[in-house]
């Protein structure tokens, strides 16, 4: 008897589930039909505005679909219908679809922003995947904007996703920003940060700025309600040696993830006019210590060159401004290529391979930091990091002497290698000054070795 009751209640339950699914499907079909109808209307720009599918049986513009989708938002007394409506009418631009932009975009799309723009010119790479969680392996080698847009659409087809597959420049920033209410800075370099902040001041847009590196993150809302801009805080750009990128310094994937989520939160708060945005304050996230600090920062600076009282900085000045020169840092992500040495103090990776094959007696010094050396290294190389070369130059001398004695040869060469061929030049310069004029560096470093000689050599 008991099993029959169980069986019938299971069937009843399944009928209910199917009925509910059928109801949802029918509702979805009718919403899509009305969306299609709108698209076919003349004078419609093809934008499927989420609120246009609404029948007028509610005192507000949320459609049945929206009520169901965002029900947990609507149930929040402090957010509710009004918050959701404001959000659905807002437009947010996320600059950068990387470690910060990925979670920010996911949450902004899911939350029901009306229009969501994505700016990026990069393609998805395998070494992005540990933190840029909006992209899937299938998109490796393809545009980050296309990849991010596809994911956003698959999460919420009612949000209008706008793809800006281009690098943000002074030439296009004003036009792109003009289409959005709120700007989210999810970029990874200093010149972009100044450019985005200045553009927000010129156009009067609030800026949700996040940054992450290593095991630390920072978050602030700039240019909001009379609050400071990025330049009020940092009128002088950091020295170039202080500008670090994830590609050089590393970053734990979840750290930008946390900051990107907080950026989405601040953008949602501003769009829906809920709560107190993080303006005039800076949030500092310390992953190792599991600590979040919020410090009060200065207000708007009267003397600020961009947002200050006597500022002449307008759209025209913005378009003329050279952010790369100002920060001494390129906007593009291509790594720096130094030329410190004369050509005869350098050899290519192929030349080094030939000398290695011919058995030429030499010492190969790898000047990368120790934790880089542990990732991968060339056989028989001696690790003396550039930062400690001055104090450890003796180790190179000993290695040379040892080779000279072994080989009965007093013309043992010194070659220096690093990751990309910049630090190796600095090291060779130092060694030449210290009495080793024949020291040479390997052009392009280990990346050059992988490209020219050994494609199986791991890159990182």
């Amino acid at each position: 008897m008991a099993s029959t009751t169980d069986e019938s209640s299971r069937i009843l339950h399944e009928i209910e589930t199917l009925k509910s699914a059928k109801f949802d499907l029918e509702r979805r079909i009718s919403a899509l039909e009305s969306q299609l109808h709108n698209l076919n209307q003349p004078h419609n720009n093809g934008v499927s505005n989420a609120s246009s599918t609404s029948p007028s049986t509610f005192p507000h513009a949320l459609s049945p679909d929206m009520i169901y989708r965002y029900s947990r938002h609507l149930l929040l007394p402090s957010f509710g219908v009004q918050g959701q409506l404001r959000l659905s009418k807002s437009s947010i631009l996320v600059v950068g679809a990387g470690g910060l932009g990925s979670p920010a975009l996911l949450y902004l799309a899911a939350s029901g922003v009306g229009r969501l723009g994505i700016v990026d010119h990069d393609v998805v790479e395998l070494n992005n995947m540990h933190r840029q969680i909006i992209h899937t392996e299938a998109y490796i080698g393809q545009s980050k904007v296309e990849s991010a847009a596809a994911t956003c659409r698959s999460i919420n087809s009612t949000v209008q996703i706008v793809e800006h597959k281009e690098a943000l420049r002074t030439s296009n920033a004003l036009e792109i920003f003009s289409k959005y209410d709120i700007i989210v800075d999810a970029t990874d370099n200093a010149p972009s940060r100044y450019m985005i902040s200045d553009c927000c001041v010129v156009m009067g847009k609030p800026l949700v700025s996040g940054a992450a590196l290593g095991l630390e993150g920072q978050l602030t809302v700039y240019n909001y309600n009379g609050g400071p801009c990025y330049r009020c805080l940092f009128p002088t750009p950091p020295p170039t040696t202080a500008c670090q990128r994830c590609a050089d310094s590393g970053v734990l994937g979840v750290v930008p993830g946390i900051i990107g989520c907080l950026q989405a939160l601040e953008a949602i708060k501003i769009a829906s006019a809920v709560g107190d945005p993080l303006s005039g304050r800076m949030l500092l996230f310390d992953a190792l210590a599991a600590r979040i600090r919020i410090v009060k920062i200065r207000g708007r600076s009267v003397q600020c060159e961009v947002c200050g009282e006597n500022s002449e900085f307008k759209a025209a000045q913005f378009q003329e401004f050279d952010y790369e020169k100002f920060t001494q840092t390129p906007l593009s992500t291509s790594p720096l290529k130094l030329k410190l040495l004369e050509p005869n103090s350098r050899i290519s990776a192929k030349e080094y391979r030939d000398r290695l094959r011919s058995g030429e007696p030499h010492v190969l010094v790898d000047v990368r930091p120790e934790h880089h050396f542990k990732i991968v290294s060339l056989p028989n190389s001696l690790n003396v990091p550039l930062a400690s070369l001055e104090g450890r130059v003796e180790e190179v001398v000993w290695a040379l002497k040892e080779k000279e004695e072994n080989k009965q040869n007093d013309d043992v060469k010194v070659y220096v290698v690093c990751r990309r061929g910049n630090d190796s030049q600095r090291a060779v310069k130092y060694l030449q000054e210290k009495g080793y004029p024949s020291a040479k560096d390997i052009i392009g470093g280990l990346e050059g070795w992988a490209q020219e000689v050994d494609p199986t050599f791991p890159s990182y």
Partner: protein, 103 residues
């Protein structure tokens, strides 16, 4: 408490028998400032009535490499906005926060 000649004391000895006329300030380093100093914080002793600028000068004396970034940092005293001329008090926390650019 064994005070070093340069006025720095190790953090674990904080809070015991204070030297007259001196105040103890805990300085917190963030981001690039951590890399350059190799530490998260340092405790320094400085004469009563000193300003945040005096603290910074003393810190640069100990960590000269910090000087290159001090033109581009946010300073916070006890998690609040501060200026060079603010007088520091015993037990204050001075945070040196360079901007992070990465993402």
């Amino acid at each position: 408490m064994k005070e070093q000649e340069d006025g720095f004391v190790s953090a674990d000895k904080h809070g015991e028998d204070k030297v007259e006329q001196l105040v103890q300030i805990k300085t917190l380093f963030f981001a690039r400032a951590r890399d350059l100093t190799g530490t998260n914080d340092v405790l320094l002793e400085i004469p009563l009535g000193s300003t945040t600028k005096d603290c910074l000068d003393k810190i640069i004396g100990k960590f000269p490499r910090l000087e290159e970034i001090l033109g581009c940092v946010v300073l916070a005293l006890n998690e609040d906005y501060t200026t060079d001329s603010t007088i520091v008090k015993d037990g204050d926390e001075l945070a040196i926060i360079p901007p992070i650019s990465g993402g």
